[in-house]
Symmetry: C3
Subunit: 316 residues, 3 copies
């Protein structure tokens, strides 16, 4: 059985297939914990987890916070506003100070690609990437893979369509790495202005025909359209986008019966998907949120926990 | 003995007299917990309470936070700024996401009347109204009733004067419902521009003579005057208000000997009451704050706790 | 053996030499706790510590927060923004409300000198000064003394140079009191516009020759230069300051072999010290951060803990 040996969680790329599966299996037993009456295990009692969110995020921050609390860890939370950063201190300085307070893990989100990697190179605590720039968002990809496996039983050979702003999406990037590694067939779809050059080299197909993609997919990952992109001239208009790529009930009439519609949240209802679809029969968006806590518990547990076998953990 | 059966705490109106008394009795034993050296019981260990405050409030938020912590619950706190709401997500979307993280209760404050009710209709966790618009603030009314009963031994037949901006006060509204249900005699008093039309239909008397109201009252609930109201033309000026309705030592010379002066806080000293009165012999304003924690512990316990009898809880 | 009897920690001045040593000794055993796998003791379980930070501070707030959490206390945190203060409530009102919620300690930082003392006069909980105006920052001085004693074995007869904006520095003031009380020889050094009138009366020497001070010192405390001071005409320019008083590698060539370079953080690299020096062989800046948590645990423990002997605590 695979043993966990990594010190940081920075990317999907540098995880082996076995390591991804170990995270997903561990998450499965932690999901069970969150469904109990007492949603808490003492696994990380007396350890400190620091949340360094230099970019706004309710969902991801709260998900990590709950994951840490349900493992009985202590938490310190630092956001960009109100931190020493406004006094001109560098991110690395802030992080070195946090490290000096004997924290066991630093969860970092930053709008600049590569910040988690730089921190990992300079810090002793485990660094967890909670999203960096347009580059990577590995815990999101892991919770997406967990959700697919839970709902469809497997990831291998599953047809996944990723729809939207592929160019700027760290969610797309991390999912492409993870899904292809686990044998899924991935097609990316979106306006050509939002399609990365030579994206096929990542092992995906490209389509500009959303109806075709819907028809063939077992899973449709709908990405959030950032309204700012319009000002940057990537998009003619939000309305145009919604018309050509927005997922609505009408478009889903040729969808497979067991289609899963996923979205990393927060959704722009009426833009990338209609309210009806977001709340509809195919949507597993809230399952993703639930699974996010379990996956993050698994990651914190594997990075910070003591060497116990999976069987021992399951008796927690 | 009354058993607790409600799933949410939205309003005073839909509580029976017996349910109100059950909350007050339960709060009494929790008040004792907060006076101990170890101010903590394990009652809600492993449960998660979410605080969704879409309106600024130190006092109420901290009071709920401490109540939850002293019951050993885990807490996640989301405020308007820094949440996904700034990304255009709806309140219900935010709440559904929080629900998906397996929280047991959602405590919500919002400037729009009816938001807690809407959440309760769509969420599985218990919803607790921590103040909505000008409509209701049930936990404030419960802590006020607790304080009256504690100080005067009963609520029935007590003369209560509520003074100030009755029109915009959720505190007044919830207290009127609760106090009349428990048999108190309520008189509301304030400028006619701040008096709701047909307020008598709520079972209260109306007076515009503050001296008369002071003379007859066992309890004087002084409401906070919001300075913004002046701009909205509800008030000629703050100074005028203070002159005609402000409670000062001079005015209290005909007060009953055991008068209680209450205020939901934060006080505007020199406006609705003088500093001397706020800190004076009749004031129970800080008792209200202390009792607020106990009442909120009781509510969280009754909504989320397992079925134990009051006697069992008292051995906690 | 000295017993702890103080109720508040407001200043270094009113601590005896023995009390300072008791804090440092207690901190030593708590430092050991923070190096364990389970960095937590149950000493303050069920007690509540309130953090009232009316001035921005990541470092100090997080340090106190971790100190309280590692003692198992519950924490409530109130900052200036988002508090009732924006509704016009006074600091004392806020503090009396917090007190009414049965907190055991109030940790306060405020830009006005004397605020912690005023709170202590009116509150029953222990008040801890986390920095007030330009006046005092006793926990910083205690962690600095802890660091010196840890690194050099003693404080008596040690030559300490304090360099920078002595006039506005609460760190300088508290360290001068503490270090001279413990027998260190202190020299202050900085631009004459930033030197308090008659500073010698505090028992220190004054020098305007930074090279001389570097040469003689066992410890160099480098203060943060606040860029705002330039606008206030205390400084010709930041560049001028850096040129004449900035600590860089060049300047350190005549330094003693075991020199300690300290800084209360956050550092302005390139202003009061170069990046090379901040990260260099003499720097103990991050040790200060680590020791800060231990010293604050000691203070909270001594103020709030029950009467146990030091020996008993050491078996925690």
């Amino acid at each position: 059985m695979t043993e966990w040996t990594k010190h940081n969680l920075l990317d999907i790329q540098n995880l082996t297939k076995e390591e991804i599966e170990l995270i997903l299996n561990t998450a499965k037993s932690f999901k069970e914990v969150s469904s109990r009456d007492v949603k808490k295990v003492p696994a990380l009692r007396g350890k400190t987890v620091a949340l360094l969110f230099f970019e706004n995020s309710t969902r991801t921050r709260v998900s990590f916070e709950l994951a840490a609390k349900r493992l009985s860890a202590d938490i310190i939370s630092i956001s960009a506003s109100g931190s020493s950063l406004s006094k001109g201190e560098s991110i690395l300085d802030t992080a070195k100070n946090i490290e000096a307070m004997n924290v066991s893990a630093v969860v970092v989100r930053h709008s600049t690609s590569g910040v988690p990697k730089i921190l990992a190179e300079h810090l002793e605590p485990s660094v967890i990437n909670a999203g960096d720039g347009c580059r990577a968002h590995p815990t999101q990809a892991l919770l997406d893979m967990f959700t697919i496996r839970e709902k469809l039983g497997r990831i291998e050979a599953i047809e996944v369509g990723i729809v939207g702003d592929i160019l700027h999406s760290r969610v797309a990037r991390s999912n492409i790495w993870g899904l292809t590694k686990l044998g899924a067939k991935v097609t990316v779809c979106g306006p050509s202005t939002l399609m990365p050059v030579e994206v096929e080299k990542l092992g995906v197909k490209v389509s500009y025909d959303i109806d075709e993609v819907i028809k063939q997919s077992d899973v449709l990952m709908v990405l959030r359209i950032q309204k700012e992109r319009q000002q940057d001239n990537f998009l003619p208009s939000i309305r145009e986008y919604a018309k050509h790529f927005g997922i609505n009930k009408e478009r889903l009439k040729f969808a497979k019966k067991n289609l899963l519609i996923m979205h990393p949240g927060p959704t722009n209802r009426g833009v990338e998907l209609s309210a009806e679809v977001a709340d509809g029969e195919y949507s597993v968006i809230l399952d993703q949120v639930t699974n996010g806590v379990a996956v993050r518990m698994a990651i914190l547990y594997l990075l910070l926990g003591t060497k116990e076998t999976i069987e021992e953990k399951q008796t927690l």
